[in-house]
Symmetry: C2
Subunit: 349 residues, 2 copies
């Protein structure tokens, strides 16, 4: 899944080139490329599908030149994850109705790739043998309020039935979750076979399933694109979590711990980044701090930031824009971007 617009990381992430297409850490590989690389030993290249928005087609082809055009599924409009996943599973079903599938966002960070690969193998083994929906749950390391949580059933294995999904908790609740040992972070990485997810769509999102059924003879043919362009915009705008996972009864979670972050916002990036002795984080830039602490500074490659008397701020500069705001006010960034869009006619999106 590579269709997000990543507005929370503006101005680093732009509508025309959102987060998944950026070399976020200056490693030479974008988040999308790192996600692709991570699956190299698990999935043959020809079995990889990237679902993205039409406007990112060229970016995906440029960043993953090993993919053929038919492996890039183009959403004509943004409709959240359920229609995105429905599109991909219908394409896969037309090729192999017994396929086992991993669904993964393309804009997450995973530090321990070896453990990741082992976890995915374990998950694929399970969904090959069970018509269940499997999600990866991350063992929490802090009372994070920015993630949804998964409550596991009792048990002594690391693969358990899900008791409940929860919304993002407040700090007090998050601390209880952490202490209980019953709760995992919801990673948004899913595994299932075609039969199980197909049945789930029919049961929990029957209208959407019916829309995709109308095209059952066009997937993987030259009529697919026209069909999707026509039908997709009419799909309900809903996430797979809310539409299916939270409602289905055959949902399991595999506990894992591979240094995961959804890179959802500057604060999560701040948390996982190396800090200097004053708690300052510098991303892709040189910095000289004077009487300043607890800032996260992200500039275009190799720039110098001289920062004096600043505490607890996000300073992000890229392309034609600069953002300076408090770290604890970062939920307002989306509003700033919207304001700028209206006021400057999209020039800085």
């Amino acid at each position: 899944m590579a269709g997000g617009v990543g507005s929370r990381f503006w101005p680093f992430s732009r509508t025309k080139c959102p987060k998944q297409f950026l070399d976020f850490f200056g490693t030479g590989r974008t988040l999308l490329q790192m996600t692709f690389d991570r699956f190299k030993s698990l999935v043959p290249t020809e079995n990889v599908l990237v679902v993205t928005n039409m406007m990112y087609k060229d970016l995906v082809m440029e960043q993953l030149p090993c993919l053929s055009a038919s492996q890039i599924l183009l959403e004509p409009t943004r409709r959240n994850t359920a229609p995105c996943i429905a599109y991909a599973i219908n394409r896969i079903k037309s090729v192999n109705p017994n396929a086992n599938i991993v669904v993964a966002p393309s804009d997450h960070l995973i530090l321990d790739e070896t453990t990741f690969v082992e976890t995915i193998r374990t998950g694929l083994d399970f969904v090959e043998k069970n018509d269940s929906l499997l999600t990866l749950g991350m063992t929490p390391t802090r009372p994070e309020t920015g993630y949804g949580y998964i409550q596991m059933s009792d048990g002594d294995t690391n693969l358990r039935k899900v008791k409940a999904f929860t919304e993002k908790p407040n700090l007090e609740m998050a601390k209880l979750f952490l202490e209980s040992g019953e709760f995992l972070w919801n990673s948004g990485i899913f595994l299932w076979n075609v039969r199980a997810i197909d049945a789930a769509f029919r049961k929990y999102l029957p209208e959407m399933a019916a829309k995709f059924d109308m095209g059952k003879n066009v997937f993987n043919t030259d009529k697919e694109v026209a069909f999707i362009e026509e039908m997709f915009p009419s799909c309900q705008n809903i996430s797979i979590d809310y539409g299916i996972m939270e409602k289905a009864s055959n949902v399991y979670v595999l506990c894992a711990d591979f240094g995961w972050s959804d890179l959802g916002n500057w604060c999560s990036l701040y948390e996982l980044s190396e800090k200097d002795q004053n708690g300052n984080v510098a991303l892709k830039c040189n910095t000289a701090f004077y009487d300043s602490k607890d800032n996260v500074i992200a500039l275009s490659d190799g720039k110098l930031a001289v920062i004096s008397d600043l505490n607890g701020y996000i300073v992000a500069e890229a392309g034609n824009a600069l953002l300076i705001c408090k770290r604890d006010n970062e939920q307002a960034i989306r509003q700033y971007v919207n304001d700028a869009q209206v006021r400057f006619d999209g020039k800085y999106n």
Copy 2:
């Protein structure tokens, strides 16, 4: 005079392209070009000399293509204003020992050019007839602590003998200066004829005058450059104010009021710029302020700055560097630039 390095405006102003070569206000003309334009109706183009550092030769030629190479006098090293002016007057003397001269910095702002031209005409009339040293004094409009002041003798004309030059005062003193009506801002713009300034150099800086005398036959010949390269670095590093103006007895001041600023630092720029209702100044960029006041924001042309919860800061970004510091701490900028030079090997100078 166009040889300054303008480090107080870093990162806007860089060693390789200091302030006088920048289109500071986004008008399409650099400060040097605006200075040249200002003299168009007063001085024939062929009588204009630009004294600058060797490393800025190409910049001057590029920005003032109407000048021939011989009109650009190149300092092989920085030696403050006295040697710079000595070079120019010796060149002028070799062409016309009776010339009347205006010496002007190339990095000041002048808003009312009509009054400026009238003032210069009045001054030139005076120095044509009097072997005196004339300086332009600006009627102060606020108790500015960033300027030196000139105390006038009693009188009822706007051209008076100078009683004393003073250093930059503290605020209390500056308020007294302003109230007294006796004090003017020292603009650093001088007028004199060749005889008067030549005599002053001989009297107050005899060693420097002797050095230039050694080359009296080479000015305006193809031997001038080699002579200057050899001799100039041995000159005393001293300003014309300290070396001559403060010591000479035949110094006059012409009071003027043409909307002048030396653009000496961000605060002076802040003072004279248009502010929004929250006291924010934006230079050459678009801005969106949230809960922010009294900032001065200067970015590369046309960029957007989104600024939240920031009060009383300088935010300046240009080329490969960004500076964020408090307005009342701007005297530290020079130190920041020096630190960066050492730490990053001049990459951000």
